[in-house]
């Protein structure tokens, strides 16, 4: 924890921005630079910043869940996204796609098991890094 007014003040804005940006990066990843891994890293950076400004305890409170649980949940989501394809008789981890509200002219909103998998990656990266950083913060 660093006692700096500038950091404390900036953190309030930056953390929100970073978290929003991380989700943005996660969602755009399929077509543009980004993805679950990068998104997770940005999200983690946000919480690390918060932890540095306000301490590990408030950061944990802000996170709501234990970071290791977040990581494990992410792993479970990624696995579920992979296993999902098996129910349709396809190979493990074959992407499944839905186009919600598709019409003749518009392809609709594409949702896929690949995105679910990427969300899993996001949570794993976020959770793992925070597990480490918060434990280290509390240790020293």
């Amino acid at each position: 924890m660093v006692n700096s007014i500038i950091l404390n003040a900036a953190t309030r804005l930056l953390v929100a921005l970073l978290l929003l940006f991380s989700v943005y990066m996660l969602l755009r990843g399929h077509n543009l630079p980004g993805g679950g891994f990068i998104g997770g890293l940005i999200g983690a950076t946000g919480f690390v910043l918060y932890a540095m400004a306000h301490g590990a305890e408030p950061a944990r409170a802000a996170l709501r869940f234990e970071p290791q649980n977040i990581a494990m949940t992410g792993l479970g989501i990624a696995l579920a996204a992979g296993v999902y394809a098996v129910f349709f008789g396809e190979a493990f981890f074959t992407g499944q796609w839905w186009f919600i509200g598709a019409t003749e002219d518009d392809k609709g909103l594409p949702i896929s098991s690949v995105l679910v998998f990427d969300i899993g990656v996001y949570l794993v990266v976020l959770g793992s890094i925070l597990t480490l950083v918060l434990a280290l913060e509390e240790e020293v």
Binding site: G29, H30, N31, L32, P33, G34, G35, G36, F37, I38, L41, I42, A44, T45, V48, M52, Q68, A71, M72, G74, L75, A78, L79, G82, F92, F93, G95, W97, P110, S112, V114, F117, D118, G120, V121, V124, V125, G127, S128, I129, T131, L132, V133, A135, L136, E137, E138, E139, V140
Partner: protein, 759 residues
């Protein structure tokens, strides 16, 4: 409230083997007619591993013994261990073992056979160590596991060699190509590896010592695993492979010498024991030796004799183990000197034990007599080593006679001492097993047509590899050499039994004088192994981060240097190096300068924080390179990882003291190593870039990314779709690494708290 007959775990454990036994009965008729039944399904088709089962005479005989004796032993266990708090666990292990053993003898695929082989090894470990509070049990269990496990690995290697030599892993195919295998250039390695597996499993000398130690297991386990079934897995393997590997000089001598030596050696040790369970353990070794000996001898009559003896031994030995278990259960001791006159107190156990013991002694009209007669007959008929085979089996039979006396006549006959006057008969569930097995020993002796037709003949055909062998069991036909030898055996055995105390004293003196002790020797081997591990761990895992880095980078440098030297790649690289520099534009030079200054600052600063930050500069420079060569995803990742690394290391270092340059003297060395590694990496990269890049994968992903995966960002599409399984593996590693690091951090905290309490 104590469980009645072990509760549901008890009756399930009895019904399962009983049902399997009944199921096997349907195969008796076709197999007796000389047929083979093949059942199978693909398991790992890509690796040619099938889950296929072969039911022929040999596997059916084994299958019936395993399931039949299994049912009796589990019934026995309901009373013997039914009130034990861990009884369900025991049943689980025992059934696991039974599945492994049945799979082993039925498998038609070598790899599947190996898997089941290991299942028996592991379940045997769990069962020997069942009394896990006792250090002796744990040691015995580990010893058995390590020895048979090592043999198992040798066996796997042998199976792979054999499978490659034969071009198939299916036993039913391999068995028909014996001539090709025996002429194959890898025949000798295959043989050695197979025998290493079989000898360790079946406790042949010099791997014999684990078996008597394994008697630390509860008695039902000893009766089941270490006499009737598991230790016969090695015998099964040798018998099974006989048509393929057998019949050569190395096979003959390896089996005949090891088997013969084990036979005599084990029977001598058997009569020396005072614990009756140990007597039985060593006679089991003797039987395994005899089976090895006769399978090795390989003539049709020797195989026939081995198969008869296999059935004979399984029946009487399981019965005797169960009998001594009842005695132990009721009196609390197995010491031969303290047991006397139990016949009046435990009449049924006495009858069951006697039936088995008479069969073991080889007295007519019991099945054991037939077994012994055929062993003698086969031994005398041998053209090579006849004297050795007959001699060992004679010596063993004499001592067996004596051992039978020690284990049954001695504790049951005579006057009951005061200490044992309140002993009473064991429960029915316990004596029914030995009674049936002992009864069968008599029944099979009186009506030898039964085992001949259903068990021995089909098994002999399977082992000998031909149905042309006539199998005709009889109790008595004429006074021949074998019969006379039997009579001499009884006379000698009886004399020796009367003189047992003197013989035992003599044996004890000889054993005490013998300097080679296998069991303590085993400990020394293990200690040596531990010392070696400690020594090399001390060198490689010093706990000093600097040394780890040096070892890692020296290894890296040697590896790369050797490769470059071997491939002669240095010359063209140096020639092209100048040309490489020509292509650099101003921006490249700027980034290069940026990275180099970061690296130099890291090396020269005396502040940890500055070093970490300067290393971050290097990382950001690398990210710039990625941007210049249009790889935005990689660049972003690199930047973020770099940022987080700096934060992480900085947090960790906040509390560390100012960096004292204590290692000033080592710095030139480290600098030289860095330069070498850097130069080598540069050479490798330049060499790689010079060659033509294989663009097939890149092209494929470029084309397929949009139409097949609906994504334009190829990097991301590869990560989450084309190569999703890899990514999944990676994120699993990330989680594991984070949790391990977390455990380490929390571990120190916990210790600190604990220490605080102690203070």
């Amino acid at each position: 409230m104590p469980r009645v007959y072990g509760g549901p775990a008890g009756w399930i454990s009895v019904l399962v083997p009983a049902a399997i036994f009944v199921w096997f009965l349907q195969f008796l008729a076709p197999v007796a007619a000389g047929e083979q039944v093949l059942i199978g399904t693909d398991w790992v088709p890509s690796m040619d591993i099938r889950l296929s089962f072969l039911i022929d005479g040999l596997s059916l005989t084994f299958g019936l013994l395993i399931s039949g004796i299994g049912a009796l032993v589990t019934l026995y266990s309901t009373k013997y261990l039914g009130n034990h708090p861990e009884y369900p666990r025991f049943v689980l292990f025992l059934l696991l073992f039974m599945v492994g053993m049945l799979g082993l003898v039925l498998s038609d695929n070598l790899i599947a056979l190996f898997v089941f082989w290991e299942v028996t090894t592991i379940s045997s470990y769990l069962l020997i160590g069942f009394d896990s509070d006792s250090a002796k049990s744990r040691r015995s269990a580990l010893q058995a596991l390590l020895l048979t496990g090592t043999g198992g690995l040798a066996l796997l290697a042998g199976m792979i060699l054999l499978g490659n030599a034969a071009g198939s892993f299916e036993l039913s195919e391999i068995l028909t190509m014996g001539d090709e295998i025996r002429a194959h250039e890898h025949y000798i390695p295959i043989l050695i590896l197979f025998l290493a597996g079989a000898f360790t499993k079946s406790a042949q000398f010099p791997f014999h010592f684990w078996l008597p130690n394994a008697m630390a297991a509860p008695t039902p386990v000893s009766a089941y695993l270490h006499s009737a079934t598991m230790v016969k897995a090695g015998v099964y393997l040798m018998a099974r492979m006989n048509p393929t590997l057998g019949g050569t000089e190395p096979w003959f001598w390896a089996l005949v010498i090891a088997g013969g030596f084990t036979t005599v050696f084990a029977s001598l040790l058997a009569v020396r024991q005072t614990d009756i369970k140990q007597v039985l353990a060593y006679t089991t070794l003797m039987a395994l030796g005899a089976l090895t000996l006769f399978i090795g001898a390989g003539t049709s009559s020797a195989i026939k004799a081995a198969m008869i003896f296999l059935v004979v031994h399984s029946l009487y030995k399981a019965a005797l183990f169960l009998m001594i278990g009842i005695v132990d259960h009721e009196t609390g001791t197995r010491e031969v000197d303290r047991l006397r006159g139990l016949a009046r107190k435990m009449p049924i156990t006495f009858v069951a034990g006697s039936l088995a013991a008479i069969s073991m002694a080889g007295i007519p009209p019991f099945f054991g007599f037939i077994g012994k007669e055929f062993l003698y007959k086969a031994g005398l008929e041998l053209e090579v080593a006849s004297l050795w085979v007959t001699g060992t089996i004679f010596a063993a039979s004499v001592l067996m006679f004596m051992a039978a006396g020690i284990s049954v006549a001695r504790p049951f006959l005579g006057r009951t001492p005061e200490a044992l006057s309140s002993t009473h008969e064991g429960p029915a569930a316990m004596w029914i097993g030995p009674l049936i097995l002992g009864g069968l020993s008599l029944w099979f002796g009186l009506f030898p047509d039964l085992p001949e037709l259903w068990l021995v003949a089909p098994a002999t055909w399977a082992v000998y590899g031909s149905t042309a062998v006539a199998v005709d069991l009889y109790l008595f036909r004429e006074v021949n050499a074998a019969f006379i030898l039997s009579m001499v055996t009884f006379a000698t055995g009886f004399v020796l039994y009367l003189a047992r105390d003197r013989i035992r004293a003599l044996l004890a003196r000889i054993i005490a004088a013998n300097p080679i002790k296998f069991d303590p020797g085993w400990d020394r081997v293990l200690d040596g192994l531990k010392a070696l591990a400690e020594w090399q761990t001390g060198i490689l895992q010093s706990g000093v981060l600097q040394r780890y880095m040096v070892i890692t980078f020296v290894t890296l440098a040697i590896g790369m240097g050797m490769t470059i030297w071997a491939k002669d790649a240095l010359g063209p690289v140096v020639l092209n190096l100048a040309a490489t520099f020509d292509d650099l534009v101003f921006m490249h030079w700027a980034v290069l300068l940026f990275i180099t200054s970061g690296a130099l600052l890291t090396a020269y600063t005396s502040s940890r924080m500055t070093a970490v930050a300067a290393l971050g500069v290097v990382g950001i420079g690398v990210a710039l390179i990625f941007i210049m060569f249009s790889a935005p995803d990689v660049a972003i990742t690199q930047l973020l990882v770099e940022t987080l690394t700096v934060v992480l290391v900085a947090v960790a270092m906040l509390k560390l003291p100012h960096l004292e340059l204590r290692n000033e003297k080592r710095r030139p060395g480290h600098a030289a190593l860095s330069l070498v590694v850097g130069a080598l990496v540069t050479i490798v990269i330049v060499a790689v870039v010079q060659g033509d890049l294989d663009r097939r994968l890149t092209d494929y992903f470029e084309i397929a990314s949009w139409p097949e995966a609906f994504g334009r960002n190829i990097v991301n599409v590869i990560l989450v779709d084309f190569r999703a399984l890899d990514t999944f593996g990676e994120i699993a590693v990330v989680v594991i690494a984070a949790l391990s690091a977390y455990a380490l951090l929390r571990g120190t905290q916990y210790r600190r708290v604990k220490r605080g309490e102690d203070d």
